[in-house]
Symmetry: C2
């Protein structure tokens, strides 16, 4: 496993508006449509506004979270008049960019997301995606304006519910903090740099560059915590503690302040030492998630390059 | 005008959820309902969740911006089956806390708002509200955890469209930056300190304290700028420039960077030197407002105290 060869990445799709109020991706698509078409390169580049109805409404989704619709089960479910718009649209997108798990699928989806959490730039992908891991390594080396981190999913590929899983080597690119419904130049520029560097990496990969192996630090999504809530009404009784707010990826240990009640009492974290992320993400209130928790591991990557034609 | 006497402030209403996704006020109401009822004081305190439907939906409003519904014209308009919910609800609230402009109206509404802009704590009120100006002065002296500023409206009182105008001496209390739909402890705590200090001031005023006159700095809302937009689609072609973002209340001069286009070009401000505020407020995209502009003036306040019973 010290050197893996892959087919060239001949079809790349940059996707935005999977969540309709995450503005950096929505606007970066417009910019890519203007700036990229005339460029000659080794791959075809397409852009896709994934959930146009939600973008028009400036909401995360209209009936169902689109980025939970890309499991094998939902992509193959029969649709009826009562099927949520997002499920129907996910099947349509799967027809355009997939089908998921097939040879016909595009090589690389780069799906653009924003978070209200202070997460800098994150690559989220499946642990089995060696090319995605190398792409991350390249971005981390090249981008100095913000921290660049890697979040890995371990679930069986057929159960991965996010859009990038439709492609052979997909990644989600998450940038924050940015309020939903707001476009911040700093976060937009960070995402733009991420996408430009990613396209640069694909071009370099296709041209035959050998990307040497090496170590990368990865955060494995292993747990989550909900906000303290009133048992009857389910309303929040506490907010994220100021010592945890904006401190994504800083080790949270048993006894550290995690929440502060509405009247000012500190509530401490109880559990094993883990790395919090998506801390106080606005969209996760309804998912009963105050923050997610990760284990950090060092992974050893094999060298990769494009396969030589036989 | 060196000393003005006023009737005691016997009825105070703290209002939240006028915009349903501004979370600090929504949660501070819950906290006040628990912490305040048993206190003996010189005034009655009520709390009101102003737009419960919008709070349930975690949206600014359902059919019409509630905080634009408190003009004399809308409060007296006949309602029909097609009247927006917020107009009907505003009339209901006016019945409870008003009627606006009448002797029956409550003495002080303190209406709680959040902004995505970096505005610290702001008191927004009408220029004619001497008690509101003194309340601001007190808050500015007492609160050190964030800047406290005063934004003044000059329009005729009957045309003031915001909730606090229903009361005799109303103020809006604006705290930020906080993403809409998110509760941040730092901003919640700032708002909580603001409300507690405001109630403390009312108690002190009612008990006969003479508040000496003096100077206050006020920002008069005089203009606004929209984002650069595509003339055909009306979509944004630029974001707030990083040098302006988060720099509310810093003088913006002709030629200073104001926007940056999606492809990276700086667009400079053209106009007279003014103080920007509500910079990149999420709710104002649909109102074609990238930021508002203020003139700063120093006002001389008369001393005030409660009128001695005759």
């Amino acid at each position: 496993m010290d050197h893996l060869g892959f087919k060239p990445l001949s079809r790349v799709a940059v996707c935005g508006g999977t969540h309709g109020n995450e503005m950096s991706g929505v606007y970066l698509l417009k910019e890519l449509q203007v700036s990229q078409p005339e460029r000659v390169r080794s791959f075809s580049l397409s852009t896709l506004l994934v959930n146009p109805r939600a973008v028009d409404a400036c909401r995360r989704y209209t009936e169902k979270d689109m980025n939970r619709c890309f499991t094998d089960a939902l992509l193959s479910a029969p649709t009826t008049a009562t099927t949520p718009y997002e499920v129907t649209r996910a099947q349509e997108v799967n027809g355009q960019l997939g089908p998921k798990g097939s040879e016909k699928a595009v090589d690389l989806i780069c799906d653009l997301h924003n978070t209200t959490a202070n997460m800098g730039l994150c690559i989220i992908t499946h642990v089995s995606n060696w090319l995605g891991l190398h792409l991350f390594k390249y971005l981390q080396e090249k981008i100095t304006s913000a921290p660049v981190r890697l979040i890995l999913l371990k679930s069986p590929f057929s159960e991965v519910y996010s859009l990038e899983s439709v492609s052979k080597h997909g990644i989600a690119l998450e940038a924050g903090p940015q309020p939903h419904g707001v476009l911040r130049a700093d976060i937009y520029n960070l995402m733009r740099e991420g996408v430009n560097r990613a396209l640069e990496w694909v071009e370099s990969f296709n041209s035959g560059t050998v990307f040497e192996g090496g170590e990368v630090e990865a955060y494995f999504d292993v747990d989550k915590k909900d906000y303290p809530r009133d048992p009857k009404t389910q309303e929040l009784t506490a907010a994220i503690h100021p010592q945890l707010q904006d401190n994504d990826f800083c080790l949270l240990k048993h006894g550290d302040p995690a929440f502060v009640s509405l009247s000012g009492e500190t509530i401490c974290y109880e559990g094993e030492a883990l790395y919090p992320f998506f801390v106080n993400e606005g969209a996760y209130y309804e998912q009963n998630t105050a923050f997610k928790l990760a284990q950090r591991e060092t992974l050893l990557l094999p060298a990769v390059s494009v396969q030589k034609p036989q």
